[in-house]
């Protein structure tokens, strides 16, 4: 009997675990190690953050689902990997520390035949002074990265709305809280949902709204922007986005690195090297992501973390990490199998894998501060990669070491993305977009890097309906209800 240990139970880890359990059956063991008791459909946190959904609607308990699937569930965080075992253990193992199940604080060594690292990111609030401490959110701003954060954001938003109703003007500052952030899409959704709710509350004229982002232009989204078909034109996402911001009366500041957060104000540095201060009454700033800080040790106890993980803490996989400067970057730099080059029984998926480089053009201020978005690895690509990795591991177990590894390169897959711009059955809107491929391939598509037959976008109520239906579909799928495998990632 082989044992597959999956570190993390988010979109990618949960997908990998549930498919591995389905394909391997009772002949082998699938273990999930995740510090969380609940699964969270993160895209809907936006609606929790504006009070349009409850925390309970976007989460569910993992324990009964894993019991049903025959998955061994350990509510714990992974601390370190020993891919060669240790002086006392011949098998490779992962050291975990329990965060629940009545064993809080206890450590355990879990041996494995294969390990899938799907730990997701550490929310690195500590990277910006005042934004937070370590992975903990600070007191001056709010976040929608977790359901708890989103619930807190909703309370703060309601307080601001009440103040506006009493005649007190409010300044809303929403975007990214560091020059190296990703997930601009989530902040994009949040600012327009906040604007929609303020309008519904009848106090839009009392609100000043401003977007702040590390993107060098609006609509970069960490993907170097995109060109999509809109109304018969091929349009840059810059024009698409600027139109929406102007229409909704939202000012913007791009190419910005937030260097410090204090009560009611932030300090920032722009790509041209200038600095300034922006005041706010309500701020939602996404933190940068980092690896969760897993360590790795050799059989003799030597620290081999740098062999397995990139300096940012994400796991090295079959990517080309020696691509050099921007001019040399190619679509083929991006990983295909997500297998660790040093240990063939180790894989990474979702945010946990180290990308070869960013997608957007690298930029920094004259002071040397890097200000560019890091690549998004969430949502649909995250699920597809998780499934492909699970497929590879299952084949290695059932067909032997020579089994063909399944491939899911972000430079060859597309993504469907629906960005909410306000919730409401007949009044809501969302930007429905598809992009193909996620990572532009300028050798295959010399014009825009992508296939414009499959890259399109439009804003409307239909997009909102799709986003709402996707919420229910993915909550249904993740709970492994009848027919769950029919719902695509």
């Amino acid at each position: 009997m082989a044992r597959v240990v999956i570190l993390g139970g988010g979109v990618s880890g949960h997908t990998a675990a549930t498919f591995a359990a389905k394909w391997l059956g009772n002949s082998h063991e699938v273990v999930v190690v995740t510090p969380n008791a609940k699964w969270n459909w993160i895209p809907s946190n936006i609606w929790v953050g504006v009070g349009q959904m409850s925390k309970e609607e976007v989460t569910f308990d993992l324990d009964p689902v894993y019991k049903k699937a025959g998955i061994t569930y350990k509510q714990a965080k992974a601390v370190s990997l020993n891919p060669e075992g240790s002086a006392n253990e011949t098998q490779p193992f992962v050291t975990i520390e329990y965060t629940g199940q009545g064993k809080e604080g206890e450590s355990e060594e879990v041996t494995y035949d294969y390990v899938i690292n799907a730990t997701g990111p550490k929310l690195n609030f500590g990277a910006t002074p005042g934004l937070g401490e370590g992975s903990q959110l600070g007191e001056h701003t709010v976040s929608v990265c977790t359901a708890d954060h989103a619930e807190h954001a909703s309370h703060k938003l309601q307080e601001s709305i009440e103040k506006m109703k009493k005649g007190e003007r409010q300044k809303f500052l929403i975007g990214t809280g560091h020059g190296m952030c990703t997930c601009q899409g989530a902040a994009f959704e949040y600012i327009f949902n906040v604007e929609h709710e303020i309008k519904k509350a009848g106090v839009r004229d009392m609100a000043d709204m401003k977007w702040i982002s590390n993107e060098s232009f609006l609509g970069d989204f960490g993907m170097g922007g995109l060109h999509m078909k809109v109304g018969g034109y091929v349009v840059s996402s810059k024009i698409f986005s600027e139109s929406l911001y102007a229409e909704r009366g939202v000012d913007w500041m791009v190419g910005a690195h937030v260097s410090k957060v204090e009560a009611g104000s932030i300090d920032y540095e722009l790509l041209d090297g200038s600095t300034g201060t922006e005041n706010f009454d309500f701020a939602m700033l996404i933190p940068p992501f980092a690896g969760v800080g897993l360590k790795a040790y050799g059989k003799d106890g030597a620290d081999i973390t740098a062999t397995i993980f990139a300096p940012n803490g994400f796991m090295k996989v079959d990517a080309n990490y020696a691509a050099g400067t921007y001019e040399n970057w190619k679509a083929s730099d991006w990983p295909r199998t997500y297998q660790n080059p040093s240990y063939s029984n180790m894989f990474a998926c979702g945010i946990a894998f180290a990308p070869p480089h960013i997608i957007s053009k690298p930029m920094s201020s004259p002071n040397g501060t890097p200000i560019n978005p890091t690549p998004p690895r969430t949502g649909m690509p995250s699920g597809i990669i998780g499934k492909a990795v699970a497929h590879s591991v299952c084949d290695l177990i059932t067909k032997g070491e020579g089994a063909h590894l399944h491939e899911a390169s972000m430079a060859e897959m597309g993504a469907a993305c629906v960005a909410s711009a306000g919730k409401g059955l007949t009044t809501g809107t969302a930007a429905a977009m598809t992009v193909f491929p996620v990572v532009p391939d300028f050798e295959k598509y010399p014009g825009t890097g992508r296939d414009t037959d499959y890259t399109f976008g439009e804003i409307g109520l239909a997009g909102h309906w799709i986003k709402h239906i996707l919420h229910h579909l993915f909550m249904y799928k993740a709970q492994l209800k009848p027919g769950w495998t029919l719902v695509p990632e």
């Binding site: 911001y245 597809i384 597309g414 598809t434 193909f436 499959y454 439009e458 409307g460 695509p488």
Partner: protein, 54 residues
């Protein structure tokens, strides 16, 4: 009289160089019949991209 879509052009230089949808385009965004048609079309387009990506 200034039309609704023209107001924000005057807000600042940023907004002045964008395109802002007019009354008809905004109305179509939440027009139930048109959006139902778009719902079907967008879903079909997304299914094509999803099928090419698996």
């Amino acid at each position: 009289m200034v039309k609704h879509e023209e107001v924000n052009f005057a807000r600042n230089d940023q907004s002045n160089t964008t395109m802002i949808p007019g009354r008809f385009a905004r109305a179509m965004r939440t027009n139930l019949i048109w959006q139902f048609i778009r719902f079907v079309i967008i879903n079909l387009k997304m299914l094509v991209v999803v099928s090419k990506s698996h």
